[in-house]
């Protein structure tokens, strides 16, 4: 299969793709997109759009109300005028009437909400929030800490505790993660690998999808421009498909290596280093595994995309037909995201050994979870077996499809193509 004919096709693909504007633009654009996505997400977390929030905090006790006012007015977002908080006293019995009175203001958003701190909260810390959108995470996140502090202060005010003891009681628990590895040392865990897993996941998703659709379009173009018949007079359909897939896969591998080169520089030199919180806990083996896995993934998905390209006559038709193949990339991509919040997620762990899914999920797991190297090797073996299964089937459909025009084939016809001898 690997002869001068396959090589000629591979070389043409490489020349055409590596020299293309699309390749150069994409190689530069992808890191920009990545940084923009991470930056945008950080910006969205910071920007809550809560300027002008008006909250009324009601207590049943006037003394507590005063203390509440004193405490809440020291909050930075109140001080800088983004939030307006007023405190007043209403008894639990009158609360219903009071809320009824405020209903108009709440519904017209003149008042964001009313927080009711009943006396009973000093026993069970249960408070009530009345608003048009009571499930606002912003109100919860911003008010939870100060109100907790208020209740703690009030609860311990008659318990004759020192300021130091009180300060301790107010303190939240801080989790410092330490990664227990098979090596001797125990390392403090940071965010570097979480960000890396996120980056790996996006890179695999985007690159597999883009290179796959490019190959699919190129197969359709060869069909529609009739160049396919000339090619088939010199090369067999299998040689042609292999050459095309190899050319496209090598191009994408070069592109991925360019994208990963900053990471290779980071782990190979002490001259440049990231802040401790974001330092990367990976080695060369990790990068090599990622690239090998990516190359195998490319071969598998390019085979599928070529097959879809051969079945259809126009890009429009193919775009609808390629949906199942895209799902094979999309589902593992979303699964890999759930792993970022819980790397031990059992569903994702199982999916990391499922054909197709393993291509995206295993590199993320390997980045987040300490595991023996045999698991990524097992994933590669699964990929190779998938490839050996996919290629003959895709090759048979490709062989019949590329010379076919007219109506879309039915599933029965496709099965017939696979069964065609030769």
């Amino acid at each position: 299969m690997f002869n001068y004919r396959t090589m000629a096709v591979t070389k043409r693909e490489l020349r055409e793709k590596l020299m293309s504007k699309a390749f150069i633009i994409m190689t530069i654009l992808m890191p920009v997109i990545m940084f923009s996505m991470v930056g945008l997400q950080a910006l969205m977390v910071q920007y809550r759009g809560d300027k002008g929030t008006k909250i009324e905090v009601i207590t049943e006790d006037s003394e507590l109300s005063l203390k509440c006012g004193d405490l809440l007015n020291t909050l930075p977002f109140v001080k800088d005028g983004k939030w307006e908080i007023t405190c007043s006293t209403v008894s639990e019995k009158e609360l219903k009437t009071y809320i009824e009175k405020k209903k108009g203001a709440i519904l017209t958003k003149k008042l964001t909400g009313v927080i009711f701190i009943p006396d009973s909260s000093l026993r069970d810390k249960k408070i009530e929030y009345y608003a048009k959108t009571p499930n606002s995470l912003t109100v919860y996140e911003k008010m939870n800490g100060p109100i907790n502090k208020l209740l703690i202060n009030e609860f311990f005010s008659d318990k004759s505790l020192t300021d130091e003891e009180l300060q301790f009681a107010r303190m939240p628990v801080t989790f410092d993660g330490f990664k227990v590895t098979r090596e001797d040392k125990i390392k403090e865990q940071n965010y570097g690998n979480i960000v890396l897993a996120f980056v790996f996941s996006i890179l695999l998703y985007m690159s597999l999808l883009i290179s796959g659709t490019t190959t699919m379009t190129s197969v359709i173009e060869e069909k529609s421009s009739k160049v396919i018949e000339v090619l088939l007079s010199s090369v067999s359909s299998r040689e042609l498909m292999t050459g095309k897939i190899l050319g496209s896969s090598i191009t994408s591998l070069i592109q991925m290596t360019i994208w990963l080169s900053p990471m290779i520089v980071l782990i190979s030199t002490a001259w440049i280093s990231l802040p401790d919180k974001f330092s990367l806990d990976i080695g060369y083996g990790h990068i090599i595994y990622f690239l090998v896995n990516f190359f195998l993934g490319l071969l598998i998905y390019q085979g599928l995309f070529s097959m879809v390209g051969a079945i259809f006559n126009t890009t429009q038709e193919a775009n609808s037909g390629v949906f199942p193949v895209i799902m094979l990339i999309l589902v593992p991509f979303f699964l890999s995201f759930s792993m970022i919040t819980n790397p031990d997620n059992s569903i994702v762990a199982a999916a990391s050994y499922i054909p197709f899914a393993t291509i995206i999920i295993m590199p993320c797991r390997f980045t987040l979870v300490d595991m023996p190297f045999i698991y990524p090797v097992l994933s590669c073996i699964i990929n190779i077996l998938t490839l050996l299964l996919i290629f003959p089937v895709a090759g048979k459909i490709y062989r019949v499809g590329i010379l076919r025009s007219g109506t879309k084939p039915s599933m029965r016809e496709l099965i017939k193509w696979i069964r065609t001898p030769g």
Partner: protein, 307 residues
């Protein structure tokens, strides 16, 4: 010696039998024409020769061995539906097709430049294919077909879409390749071209070979009792005349088949007696077009073989 032997070649697509038990031989050093009307099965037969279609049954023997990669390597193929990579440059295109056949290097580049010059394309070496006219794209396609100096040249409807000047240029190159001892196989529905160029033909109709062999032998066999006439005047009196079996009008000439009751000399005498101006009178002559119409014009006939 036969360069290519085709035996009982059949190709079916679902319920359609595109080619049925086709058998013919292509001798070494010959120009072989596969002729027939549109949809007769010419392209399917050629695609099977080129191993693009896998035959449903039958075999193709190339110099004593089943046809395979070696045949493809030494064959240049010009398909009926021409196609090139639109974004590729002219020289890159030619070099790519040469490389697919295992040829590369300076010699191939020099040869490509010579062909481009011969086809008046020297100034378009670095042009993208999409920027060439359709005619020029066809020239590039033809150069790509012969750039690796193939022993076999297979051309599917090579003259379709060519202007008279380029048709002549193509004919010259075909004859030149024949002189070099190459085998040229071409399909056409244009009988004139086949008649002028071919040594051997196979006539295909509705998927079946209805005639095949040496063109001169075929014409000799079919021209008995035939007269080709170019005239001025009225020859309607020939209809129902006891000497004449049929009169076929071919536009510029008529083909007359004699019954045998009178000789061609008797026919000439008859024409002069009836004041018909005889411009051209060819005895025992028949055009390939006449043979084609006689064999494939009506219902399928029995197979003729003169091999």
């Amino acid at each position: 010696m036969q360069a290519l032997e085709v035996r009982d070649l059949t190709k079916t697509f679902d319920d359609i039998r595109a080619v049925s038990n086709a058998s013919f031989d292509v001798p070494e050093g010959s120009i072989f024409g596969l002729i027939g009307r549109n949809g007769a099965g010419k392209t399917t037969t050629i695609r099977m020769l080129m191993n693009i279609y896998v035959p449903t049954s039958g075999k193709i023997i190339f110099r004593g061995e089943p046809v395979g990669n070696e045949f493809r390597r030494i064959t240049g193929y010009l398909p009926e539906e021409r196609g090139l990579y639109k974004k590729m440059k002219v020289m890159d295109t030619i070099m790519f097709f040469a490389e697919l056949k295992g040829k590369k290097g300076r010699d191939v580049t020099d040869k490509a430049k010579k062909y481009l010059s011969r086809f008046n394309l020297s100034d378009r070496v670095n042009s993208k294919v999409e920027n060439l006219s359709k005619g020029n794209q066809q020239k590039v396609q033809f150069i790509s077909t012969i750039i690796h100096d193939p022993d076999f040249i297979v051309l599917d409807e090579p003259f379709s879409g060519l202007d008279p000047i380029n048709t002549n240029l193509l004919k010259d190159i075909i004859l030149e390749k024949k002189r070099e001892g190459k085998v040229i196989i071409f399909s056409t529905h244009l009988m004139d071209y086949a008649e002028k160029l071919c040594d051997h033909i196979a006539m295909i109709d509705r998927g079946k070979i209805i005639l095949n062999g040496n063109l001169n032998d075929i014409k000799a066999e079919f021209s008995k009792n035939k007269v080709s006439l170019v005239y001025e005047g009225d020859i309607s009196f020939l209809e129902n005349h006891p000497f004449v079996e049929t009169v076929s009008d071919f536009g510029n000439s008529v083909g007359i088949t004699l019954t045998g009751k009178g000789s061609s000399q008797d026919l000439l005498k008859l024409l002069i007696e009836n004041n018909v101006g005889v411009i051209k009178f060819d005895c025992d002559d028949i055009s390939l077009n006449e043979i084609f119409i006689e064999l494939a014009g009506g219902m399928p006939k029995e197979e003729y073989s003169l091999v």
